[in-house]
Symmetry: C2
């Protein structure tokens, strides 16, 4: 990561951005949501790395690591989400980006309270009707073009449904609207490959690097439905076991998942990385 | 269109938006770029209709027609582009939209000078490397998730190339980065269907409604390369004849296009709708 990037327009507690910012005009930018506890960031390396890789993909410079490192310490005490929004800034002619760009980096601290009942009891999910489009150029990075996620999340209002599972337009498993997905079969935990669409979560990356998750290419829905246990996870909420899944019409799917030792084991690894409390087996 | 929608946060000459606006966070919104001459808008019905249809697709209310009708008259004298940006506003929980949303509508007047040399002499275009992803839920509307257009426009810096032709990931003709595409064969003008991706331009809609353009489904690149004449057009720039096309490596493609009477005829229809001057045949 460059250490000399000139990040203009830095906003500290400034609640507004320029109407001309390309982040608004075209979603021309990236974001990160980082778990903080008393000003200490979790999976910070992974977040900084993803931001940097995203900026490289879009063709502009991310702030230096030293600049980013100063952010978490500005947080108030307690648990917060640090939301970092990095845009290409203003300028250019229509879609054509300015050269060089003058990226802008904004941040917000959002108070956060975890949901331990979901850690313990697991969640009910649904299958989304929307299918993710395949766009390898944008896959994996956490860019600001998130209308698919918004429209998928808008499919249901029932608060007993915690999340929605997303397939791509080839009916392959990808992720949930705001979390990554894993299932357990053949004695291992699997998570979908994200080379065509989806967001590579930082917790997902950390669990793969530590050998706790394997990547499954082109996994059909049946892989999930036939698995013994399954879960959703991200770097803020931790790991939620899946116990039930409805289809898009609200009917039960044939899937049945147990909160077994495999789940608790992966959850312990995830929660250790995030500083969330371990969850004791209740069965 | 609703006449009673409460559009909060209206910005008149306010150059900033809230950092929490979902338009920035997720590209959760729409835009229009409208040609104005001395405060009079061109293709205004089409622009208002597309904005309204886009808002309906995303699930929030567009401003009333009466409210929109007050905008063009605020413009200074001369030629301008009125850029309208409509977002879902702030609020909600993550991707989950607030119910009801409190949409925000911003506008800017941008001075505009047309490029008559492109009307007369035509343009050289290139084939973009990027392939548009197929997402029927977002196809046609002018939403704020425009990273594909930005990345496609970023593929070239050579100012002698006026535009880039975009195919979808099934190698079918769709559009250019900021214009719609048409070609002439079998005695008619054809433009690609936009049910899977692409933006339905207002000039395109007006030309189809008046019987000047037919819609071609699943048209391969060869349809364009084998055509006698071809052009790009939008509601601001008018109609640019295509005379040459490079591939993504900068090599000529076999296509050869004439600026013939068919081109001048379609151009007259387009320019009449926009109030641009007619272009006399030079050949």
């Amino acid at each position: 990561m460059a250490d000399d990037v000139n990040v203009t327009g830095m906003v500290e507690s400034d609640p507004t951005i320029a109407l001309t910012d390309r982040g608004l005009a075209y979603g021309d930018g990236l974001f990160e949501t980082v778990l903080l506890r008393d000003g200490v960031a979790r999976l910070w390396d992974e977040h900084c790395e993803r931001l940097s890789q995203g900026a490289q993909r879009l063709g502009f410079e991310a702030p230096s690591r030293a600049w980013l490192d100063a952010l978490p310490g500005k947080a108030p005490a307690g648990e917060h989400v640090l939301k970092i929004t990095l845009t290409r800034g203003s300028g250019g002619r229509g879609y054509r980006p300015p050269l060089p760009a003058e990226p802008r980096c904004y941040w917000q601290f959002i108070p956060f309270t975890p949901m331990p009942e979901r850690w313990v009891q697991g969640i009910t999910v649904r299958l989304c009707r929307l299918r993710l489009a395949c766009q390898p150029v944008l896959a994996g990075i956490k860019h600001l073009n998130r209308l698919e996620n918004v429209l998928a999340r808008q499919e249901w209002q029932d608060d007993t449904i915690a999340e929605g599972i997303l397939l791509n337009d080839r009916d392959q498993l990808i992720e949930a609207t705001a979390m990554n997905l894993a299932w357990h079969d053949q004695g291992r935990w699997w998570t979908p490959a994200l080379t065509e669409c989806g967001v590579e979560g930082t917790l997902r990356r950390a669990l793969i690097e530590r050998g706790h998750l394997s990547v499954a290419d082109h996994a059909p829905l049946s892989r999930l439905l036939n698995s013994q246990s399954a879960c959703l996870f991200n770097s803020v909420q931790g790991l939620w076991p899946i116990v039930m899944c409805h289809d898009a019409d609200g009917h039960d799917t044939p899937g049945q998942w147990r909160i077994d030792e495999a789940v608790r084991c992966l959850q312990r690894e995830a929660h250790t990385l995030l500083g969330h409390p371990p969850v004791l087996s209740t069965s």
